[in-house]
């Protein structure tokens, strides 16, 4: 190994995710790193500020497990299915603790703009938005700025610079040069905005593979702290070209999440009860066959001169 960055998930989380951190596990439906969320739960991190456009099932699990002090988000639901009930219990005051979760809420564009500002190391980002909505009342961090050319008043959001961002990707080399395809979400911006970046990949590849198609590289090694090789690490979300989205799991989550006891049993069995993602997959031997991607290869392009 030419690089000290390649490590087990356990070690990456132990070294780079600390109590009290702002943690981002990004990915819009695609490439959401459930494996990292589970390891954070296993290592019992506390007082995290969890930021992400769509908290999804993984943040619902982390909230249920007591990792989160605060949630920064723009859409908190189970896409196409229903609610994130641990999240709702925390806010609707029905949880045992009586709703201990702080929230800071934007729209998708606002969250994207926060990451864009963070990535460019600007303190704010301007956008034409939020006129007529109650969002700025609910969140006084949405402010405005006057254009020095036209006098127009534009909305602003503040930069978001996480302590650690975790990005799941199809492949990377040992130095952390990372390639992704399919939906790219806001991962590039979140990674560049972050103090530390953990890249989790389906496959570790030779540097030559990366160099054969440099336009596919989304995250350069220089900003990457750790590379974790964790096949199926995005399940029940998906990895284009590797495995499909497990819609059955999303549908089933409605019932699990709605019942705190079932949710606790889920965490016991599939998170605390396994040492790592390999253990998680071994418990569900039929998953791979059901979800493995079919081949639909793109043609190569010529980089010659």
């Amino acid at each position: 190994m030419a690089s000290g960055k390649v490590m087990a998930m356990r070690d990456a989380v132990a070294r780079f995710v600390h109590d009290g951190d702002t943690v981002v596990i990004e990915g819009f439906t695609h490439l959401i790193c459930f494996a990292a969320g589970h390891e954070i739960i296993r290592q019992r991190r506390r007082d995290l500020t969890l930021a992400r456009l769509t908290p999804d099932l993984i943040y619902d699990q982390m909230i249920a497990a007591g990792c989160a002090r605060k949630l920064v988000f723009s859409w908190a639901g189970n896409p196409g299915v229903g609610s994130l009930h641990a999240f709702r219990r925390a806010l609707e005051g029905k949880s045992a603790g009586g709703g201990g979760l702080e929230i800071e809420e934007y729209s998708h564009f606002g969250m994207v703009a926060r990451f864009s500002a963070g990535a460019a190391r600007l303190p704010f980002w301007p956008l034409r938005n939020y006129m007529g909505t109650d969002l700025p009342t609910a969140n006084p961090r949405i402010r405005s700025v006057t254009c020095p050319y036209t006098g127009e008043v534009l909305a602003t959001v503040p930069a978001l610079n996480p302590g650690v961002t975790i990005v799941h990707a199809q492949r990377a080399d040992v130095a952390g040069n990372t390639q992704m395809w399919g939906l790219l979400g806001v991962q590039k911006e979140a990674a560049f905005a972050s103090a530390r970046v953990i890249v989790v990949v389906e496959e570790l590849v030779e540097e030559d593979v990366i160099r054969s198609d440099p336009n596919r590289t989304v995250i350069p090694g220089m900003i990457v702290s750790a590379v974790v090789v964790e096949p199926w690490g995005a399940h029940p979300s998906y990895a284009q070209g590797y495995y499909d989205r497990d819609n059955d799991f999303y549908v089933a989550w409605e019932g699990v999440s709605r019942d705190p006891d079932r949710l606790a049993r889920y965490l016991e069995e599939f998170v605390y009860g396994v040492p790592d993602r390999a253990g998680y997959m071994n418990k569900q031997p039929h998953l791979a066959a059901r979800l493995k991607a079919k081949a639909r290869l793109s043609q190569g392009v010529n980089y010659g001169f």
Partner: protein, 253 residues
């Protein structure tokens, strides 16, 4: 509702699509009068041509064989804020008299009775799409005089109109419901009853709306789904009935 929504789309338009009924409506329009409709999902898939009915706006089937996939910063800055989107679909837990939509909370924001998912991309779609179509089933709780929280702005907010507030798009021009269609009045911005499904009366619609509904002098009659539309919806576009539930009265949602 899917068929009525489909008829609102013109060939060649660029539509910001959500999953479920809007997706069905777009695909129905593509299969009938608007083959060159371009579908954009906030996930970044442009010109998708899915081989299966997508169950999420980030479904991998929306990527495979699409014309373009871009990051979400591009979706919001280069497509939506740029003004490229002709039509946006919106829905929500509450829709009010001026087409303001609430997808955030029922009750007080600080201590909600029901915590809803929040804006997602809806707030900016409501601001920027050249026009939006609201799709929602009638119910007086879902159509209050005023929403508890304005997530996505409609035709008027706090007495100020869209132009005055600096919004580029025309906002919600129609609310497509399960009993009739409301339209934004050009001067007041109020959602007024414009057309009815067959066999539905204006009073039936009023029962599902929490404010005294203004009625257009001449109410339109919405043509029922044609045989072609029904066949496409049931046999081709949603054969498993994932989004369309056939009702006892034979109507298709």
């Amino acid at each position: 509702m899917a068929a009525v929504a489909a008829r609102e789309l013109r060939d060649g338009e660029v539509v910001f699509v959500g999953i479920g009924l809007p997706n069905l409506a777009c695909n129905l329009a593509r299969a009938t009068h608007a083959p060159n409709l371009v579908l954009i999902y906030e996930s970044g898939a442009v010109g998708a041509s899915p081989s299966r009915l997508p169950v999420s706006i980030g479904d991998p089937a929306l990527v495979t064989g699409s014309l373009m996939v871009c990051g979400m910063a591009d979706v919001f800055q280069l497509f939506l804020q740029n003004g490229q989107i002709n039509v946006g679909f919106l829905g929500g837990a509450q829709v009010d008299r001026y087409g303001n939509i609430n997808t955030t909370v029922i009750g007080r924001y600080e201590r909600p009775t029901v915590r809803l998912p929040g804006s997602g991309g809806a707030a900016e779609i409501a601001v920027h799409a050249q026009r939006t179509l609201i799709v929602a089933k009638l119910n007086p709780r879902a159509f209050p005089e005023r929403v508890d929280f304005v997530t996505s702005p409609g035709q008027q907010c706090g007495g100020r109109g869209r132009r005055e507030l600096g919004m580029p798009g025309a906002g919600p021009v129609k609310v497509i419901t399960d009993k009739g269609v409301l339209e934004a009045d050009a001067t007041t911005g109020e959602m007024v009853l414009a057309a009815l499904y067959p066999g539905v009366t204006a009073d039936d619609v009023q029962k599902g709306v929490g404010w005294p509904l203004t009625r257009r002098p001449r109410l339109g009659a919405i043509a029922p789904p044609s045989a072609t539309e029904l066949r496409l919806l049931r046999d081709v576009l949603d054969p498993k009935g994932l989004f369309l539930k056939s009702k006892g009265d034979g109507k298709t949602e």
